[in-house]
Point group: C2
């Protein structure tokens, strides 16, 4: 996100993410996704990616890929359209093989998961920019969560990666 | 601020700041304020501090202390009530002795200064908590600013301090 908390500028603009593009630097993304079996994303993020690159690689990359939506979509290989509560989805996934679940956002999905207290680890990358307006990663209205800082990483591009777990209560 | 960008919870609640209170740890605040000659703060922050501790130490601590407000207040030693634009204030201050100006917020003051591009350094402390609601440090509606990461510091409490300058254009 930007320092002021946006994951996208006005009109879903994510071109500013390029300020962190550095040859050979993936910010640990490949290593992180290697440990993931299940991917969850919101319908809007799905469409933004699809419009941007004409493909949705996550559909092939993970054992299971869920797109949260209340609309109905035609079948698409590798994708399960899901219209239900996040906690039910997690129960279903855990009953199967899903152990390492990557919830990629965007804002509505993050809010839904935070509302039900379903996130146990947070990896937040802060880019050196103030956008001033756009779509906030953390929408308003979920309950308070105490966190425990696990690790911070600083990169040459000025990106700072903050890694938290939920604080055991 | 909290990880989700709030400087105060609902009803100006700042009690959660206590999660970062550690004996003997001031997060570099004393060293930072030693280099400061001029202090600028908004009327609301002024009142929150005054209500909380019954005093406003900044009025004695710095050569000059400006409280931005459109209301009229009785005279108070050490404080200049200021009702004008941030850029005019900075011009005035720089014409006098003011070289190291600490703009302490809150949100409206930060926004006003960002709107006019008047901040050249940012020290942002992120506490390990998601508040879910409250008053955002970065209000919406100022122009985009590219930043340069100068330094990050991580503390035992889980507080992360990010230090940016404006990126030279």
């Amino acid at each position: 996100m930007s320092l002021d908390g946006y994951l996208a500028g006005p009109e879903d603009d994510i071109s500013w993410l390029s300020i962190a593009e550095q040859e050979g630097e993936d910010y640990g993304y490949a290593a992180f996704t290697k440990g993931i079996d299940t991917y969850i994303v919101g319908r809007k993020t799905y469409e933004v990616v699809l419009n941007l690159i004409g493909d949705f690689p996550a559909a092939r990359q993970y054992d299971a890929c869920y797109v949260l939506t209340t609309r109905s979509f035609p079948e698409r290989e590798g994708i399960t359209w899901y219209n239900g509560s996040p906690s039910e989805l997690l129960r279903d996934i855990r009953r199967k093989s899903g152990k390492h679940i990557y919830c990629d956002g965007g804002a509505s999905v993050v809010k839904a998961f935070l509302e039900e207290g379903l996130i146990d680890e947070y990896i937040i990358s802060i880019l050196p920019i103030l956008l001033g307006k756009g779509k906030r990663l953390f929408q308003e209205g979920f309950p308070k969560h105490l966190l425990k800082l696990k690790e911070t990483k600083t990169f040459a591009s000025g990106l700072v990666q903050l890694h938290y777990t939920n604080k055991p209560s």
